[in-house]
Structure formats: C-alpha cells, structure tokens
C-alpha cells in the first residue's frame, strides 16, 4: 500500500544499464513514487529542464566513452537547484570521485550495484521520509 505523501514524490533515474534501470524503477514505483527513466545525460538534462524532481539517482558513467558524465548532470541540477536531492552511483568510486561528487552537491555517493532496500532507505531519508 502506498504511504501517504509518497505518491507525490517524483524521482529521476539515470543509468544506461537496463538491467539496473528497469528493476530500480519498478521498485520505487512499487513504493508509490512517480519515476522517470533516462538512459543518456542529455535525456536527463532535458527532463530536469522541464520537470521538478524530489530525487535524482544517477550513474556516474553513463556513456560508452567512460567519462564521468553523471557529474555534468549533477552540475546542471545544482545550477537549477529546486531543492532536488541527488544520489550518485558508480561501480568505481575512488576517494577523489566521491570528494568531487560531494563538492558538486551530491547528497549521497554509493557503490553499484546497491541492494534496492538500502538505496530506498537513503532515498526516503533524503526526501524527508525516513523509513525504519
């Protein structure tokens, strides 16, 4: 059953791996959230330009070129800042990357893959709806 207030929460997921994107979207939808999915940084940026999100969960590396494109999206979110919380995920998190992501305004930095209940725990805490 959807908890009060949860259905109003809008989440954007950015990841180019369908095997991660689809189950994550399904999980959060199952918890009553509205979820948009983006598979490219430009798609995420286009969505951020026109919609407000309570939370963005983004993969640091979302193209085959191997750069940290997720950080560009994070910059764009913070440039527009509507009080959106951001969780950065990456399979390769060094101390430097974590430091850079936090300096750019990431509220959480987690290693991929992350168990969905753990991800949801942080997500709801950041959205002001802590789960026990």
């Amino acid at each position: 059953m959807t908890e009060p207030g949860v259905s109003a929460k809008r989440i954007l997921l950015l990841d180019d791996e369908e095997a991660i994107l689809l189950p994550t979207a399904k999980y959060f939808r199952g918890l009553g959230c509205t979820v948009d999915m983006a598979r490219e940084p430009e798609e995420a940026e286009a969505l951020i330009s026109h919609r407000r999100y309570d939370l963005v969960i983004l993969d640091l590396r979302v193209t085959r070129f191997g750069g940290a494109e997720g950080l560009e999206v994070l910059r764009e979110i913070r440039r527009r800042d509507h009080g959106t919380s951001v969780i950065v995920l990456s399979a390769y998190i060094s101390a430097e990357v974590e430091e850079e992501a936090r300096a750019l305004g990431a509220d959480g930095v987690l290693r991929k893959p992350q168990p969905l209940p753990d991800l949801a725990h942080l997500a709801f805490a950041l959205m002001g709806m802590p789960r026990g």
């Binding site: 369908e18 983006a38 598979r39 798609e43 286009a46 085959r64």
Partner: protein
C-alpha cells in the same frame, strides 16, 4: 546500451505522431479556421513523447536539424490527407534554418513529393538558443518566401523571439505567447503588451495571433484590441486532423447560425 537509443527511436520512420490545433479567425460572433498548426509528439512511451522534452533533448544532442527534418516528414505526410484548401503551420527552429543549408530544399522536395502547394504552408519560427548564423538564417527566410510559404514568428515577447528576430523574419504573423494572453481581460499590463505587439505588426503588414486563449473574457478583450486570429483550448485542443477539422467546421456552422440569428434579432428591433 548504445549512446543514442532515444535519438534513434525519434528518427525512426513512423515514430513521431502529428496533432493539429486550429488558429481560428473571429469576426463578431462568426468563427472559421484560418490555419492548422501541426504539433509533434515524440515516440509513444518515451520521455520524448512530450514535445518540450523532445526538442530540449534534440538541442542537448545538437541534433535539432535532424529532428526538425523528421518532424517535417511526419507533418507533410499527415498534411497530405487534409482538404486542399487547408493551410498548415509547421514549427521550425531558427537554428535549423541558420545551420542546415539544405533544409529549405528538403522542405520543398517534401512538398513536391506529396503534391502540396507551398502556399498552404506557414513556417512558424521558434528559437530557444542563440547565437545563430544571421546570414544563413536570412538566406533561408528568403528561400522560404521565394517558395511561396508564409512566415510566423512564434512566442513573440519571450526569450529570443525579440526585435532582432522580427527584423530578420519580417513575419506575416506575430504569435503572442500565452504568457501575455492568458488572463489579459483582468490585467491592464498584459493588454498593454498585446496592444504594443499589434501596433508593431501593422507596418510589417502582419497579423497577430493570440495563443493560449481559454476563456470568453480574454477573447472579448482581444477582440477589443483588434486581434481576430485566436488559438487555444477555447476553440479546441490539439487532436487528430479529422477531429480538429470536424470540430472547427461545426464551430463555423454554429457561429454562422448564431450570427444570422443575432442579425435577425437586431433587424427586428
């Protein structure tokens, strides 16, 4: 997954759908369709189904011109089933006209292939991101005029649809954005902006289209300002060509009947 999954879907033949919304001409109580603006929806079930997201994404990918070409293809396909006297408005980004030197030829070839007269075309210029090549843009506008198309400047008063664009386009239509139109009956300052656009349009020999008209009070205020080209939910939401044409024709018939009845009542007094 590949980098351009969404773009590939957008550019796939048949993935874009076309809706139309009428621009209605209003004189007294009589209304009739003036032209139909074609509105694009991106691939069903994707984030780009929303046109705002579709075009923002195309801009971010630097592929506006490719997406504009795909839109033109879809719109001309839909327009070929319209009655021969229907004029169609097509939105084109100023950046596409400026940067894609072959765009007007592409458009002309598309019209010719579907046996559509360019005189049935209103090219609505939209712009979201400067800077653009003024020379290339001017050349494209000139080519569109030679072709016989009319030019509309969209979103007048907003963003980059400014005085410079008016000079570069010399539009046949000034489209005033809903931001100024909605609620104008209750806001003197909004009416002042609309009146200034109407005054500006006059020496260009252009007509003003009010976008986003949703209630009768705003319609009356616009008519008092001399604006008689009206677009908005008051006269119909965007829809399939057949539905929009049927609804516009019904409005035309009813307004004609209402006009005749009003004349009889007036004459009887």
């Amino acid at each position: 997954m590949g980098e351009q999954v969404l773009l590939d879907r957008i550019l796939e033949p048949g993935s874009l759908s076309v809706h139309f919304q009428p621009v209605m001409e209003v004189h007294g109580s009589r209304v009739k369709p003036h032209y139909l603006e074609a509105l694009i929806r991106g691939p069903h079930g994707t984030t780009a189904e929303s046109p705002a997201i579709l075009f923002e994404y195309a801009r971010k990918k630097n592929r506006e011109s490719d997406v504009d070409r795909a839109c033109v293809g879809a719109i001309l396909g839909a327009a070929s089933s319209l009655p021969a006297d229907t004029t169609v408005g097509i939105n084109v980004h100023a950046s596409t006209l400026a940067m894609d030197a072959g765009f007007v030829k592409f458009l002309a070839a598309g019209l010719s292939a579907r046996k559509l007269s360019p005189r049935r075309l209103v090219v609505e210029i939209v712009e979201h991101a400067p800077p653009w090549d003024v020379v290339g843009f001017g050349t494209a506008i000139e080519a569109l005029r030679r072709l016989g198309a009319r030019i509309a400047l969209d979103d007048v008063g907003l963003g980059h649809s400014n005085y410079m664009m008016i000079l570069e386009c010399r539009p046949d239509y000034f489209k005033v954005d809903r931001h100024f139109v909605s609620g104008c009956s209750r806001d003197f300052h909004r009416r002042a902006v609309i009146a200034s656009v109407a005054q500006l349009a006059r020496p260009f020999g252009a007509r003003v289209v009010a976008e986003g008209v949703e209630d009768l009070a705003d319609l009356a205020a616009l008519k008092r300002l001399g604006i008689n080209l009206i677009q908005g939910f008051l006269f119909g939401q965007p829809g399939l060509a057949s539905d929009v044409l049927a609804s516009a024709a019904m409005l035309h018939r009813r307004s004609g009947a209402a006009g005749r009845s009003a004349s009889r009542t007036h004459a009887g007094r």
